[in-house]
Amino acid sequence: MALLEVENLQTHFRTPEGVNRAVEGVSFHVEEGETLAIVGESGCGKSVTSMSLMRLIPPSAGRIAGSIRFDGRDLLGLPEREMRSIRGNDISMIFQEPLTSLNPVLTIGYQIGETLRLHQGLSAAEARAKAIEMLTLVGISEPARRIACYPHELSGGMRQRVMIAIALACNPRLLIADEPTTALDVTIQAQILDLMRDLKQRVGAAIVLITHDLGVVAEMAERVMVMYAGRKVEEAPVAQLFKTPRHPYTRGLLGAIPRLGSSLTGRQERLAEIPGQVPSLKNRITGCVFAGRCSQADEICRTIAPGLETKAPGHFAACHQALREEAPS
């Protein structure tokens, strides 16, 4: 049994213009200690998926359906009280923007210690000691002094380290990282990624990494799931996805990565872009969600929605046109 099993997840928001089907029937699983990357462009439902896993979508705003089994327990069926004892404890989260995600009027020591006091029943003094230990772990110098700092007194990279310290304080089994490096400078990004990889090995937590940066995916993930318009369109082990992407959308994403030095080699190619726009999620979509932007789309694509098919061992794609694994030639 996998650590996390998500089946047919649907997250719909009520809006004045109609129901927004932000996540529509997504299934995936995460093994103990594994890193799964969820990629896609903004608005594809990857962040909503992560918020749904933690049940952080207020019931007044949206409805989550399907099943989310964590360690065999169905999270969607749990009372709010039990869900709270899982949040920040068994499953924790790192957010994109560390400045706004940390409370500006509380010291970082308080913010790290808070989860420890809540979930592990530590006293204030014990929580402080553990908070200093966590700051050391995430590579912040002079932790005993920094513990009294407020978020605005730290740099962006340090703030994200603090976020990681908060998330890992209670030794979670699953860490959800929602664009953890997007808001940071490139040099800091590399440091944070190194830190996350290092800590993952030490702590042994599984990671769901949400990103639109395929470079980050290549660095961090073992498996990748590609989302488009609230649906999962492809899933494969990371090496396989980069080598033989099956879905035209994934191929488009890979083609849109700028290559370092391409202007020096003389072959000045334009970056491949994916024409068109993501369809509105407020209307029912017939056929393939990507058909409107796909160069290979034909009549079948526009009328029948493709299901996820096994195209190679461990490699699934939802595309009528994608070929199954050819015989090795």
Binding site: S85, E97, P104, L118
Partner: protein, 313 residues
């Protein structure tokens, strides 16, 4: 911090001087001659001139102002024209009831309004929210004297639970003092509660959409800790501002409230002084109010410092 405090105290000096100038000019701007008032209807022109000279009213304005300031600096606000008693003494007698009334009103109002606003924001859009906000609108719309008479009618005259009016100092017992303050504070506090509750709700609503509130929820915190620790502290700066600014509202409100409930406070003193054109008393009261207000503003600024670590002087 200490240097900031000293600087701030220094900047209050020109403000207070300006207030002093304004208050003093009152004498010259309003119609009616204080010397003629003192002298009475029967006095001859010579009598009036003599009184004017004795009060120094015949000297040029800057000289008079300087003399007034000089006496002020020595704690002398002059004599009441009407009762011939020193103004400082008159004010001293009346400060107790007014301070009791304002203190009580603030304590109860803030204690009531902040939780109201927090609950309304937390349950935004629900029946509770609408009920609380309707209550706030009502508090805004009813004038102090209407609420005052209604409360006195129901709780004092009909139910006979509380005294109708009057004031007893705290030295005569806690309950007699408290019981006579409940109804006045309630009627004076209505507007204040409404104001603070609305601001609290609005600020909390904004704070609750912030990323750090989502982080707090992702940590597994319950609603109470999220609201009281993570949200309210962030919302506190605007709330404290309104609490402070609202004190001006209270100063005005006490005048009416003291009349309705026959409390011998500064408000009554002011009204009597205005009716008698008792300028020294008017000056004294206005000066006291302005001074209090300047001091409260200073306190608010110092509060910011405590509440938000990003504000440092």
């Amino acid at each position: 911090m200490l240097i900031y405090l000293l600087k701030r105290l220094l900047t209050t000096v020109p403000v207070m001087l300006l207030v002093g100038l304004f208050v003093f000019s009152l004498l010259f701007v309003v119609p009616g001659d204080p010397a003629a008032m003192i002298a009475g209807d029967q006095a001859s022109i010579a009598d009036i001139a003599r009184i004017r000279a004795s009060l120094g009213l015949d000297r040029p304005f800057p000289v008079q102002f300087w003399n007034w300031l000089w006496r002020l600096a020595h704690g002398d606000l002059g004599q009441s024209i009407f009762s011939d008693q020193p103004v400082t003494m008159l004010i001293g007698q009346r400060v107790g009831p007014t301070l009791s009334l304002m203190g009580m009103t603030m304590l109860v109002s803030v204690g009531l309004a902040v939780p109201m606003g927090v609950i309304a924001a937390w349950k935004a859009g629900s029946l509770i929210d609408r009920f609380l906000m309707a209550l706030a609108v009502l508090g805004f719309s009813l004038p102090v004297f209407v609420v005052g008479y209604m409360l006195a009618y129901v709780f004092a005259l009909n139910l006979d639970w509380l005294p109708v009016q009057g004031y007893v100092p705290m030295d005569d017992g806690l309950w007699p003092w408290l019981s006579r303050l409940i109804l006045p504070s309630a009627s004076l506090g209505c507007v204040y509660v409404a104001l603070i509750a609305r601001i609290t709700r609005a600020t909390m609503l904004e704070v609750l959409t912030q990323d750090y509130v989502r982080t707090a929820r992702a940590k597994g915190l319950g609603s109470a800790s999220i609201l009281m620790i993570h949200a309210l502290k962030n919302a506190s700066v605007p709330i404290v501002t309104v609490i402070g600014l609202g004190i001006a509202l209270l100063i005005g409100g006490t005048v009416v409230t003291e009349s309705v409930f026959a409390i011998p406070g500064l408000g009554r003193l002011t009204i009597d002084a205005i009716l008698h054109r008792d300028y020294p008393v008017i000056q004294g009261v206005v000066l006291l109010c302005s001074g209090t207000y300047v001091l409260i503003n200073l306190l608010i600024d110092l509060c910011y410092n405590l509440l938000d670590p990003r504000i440092r002087y």
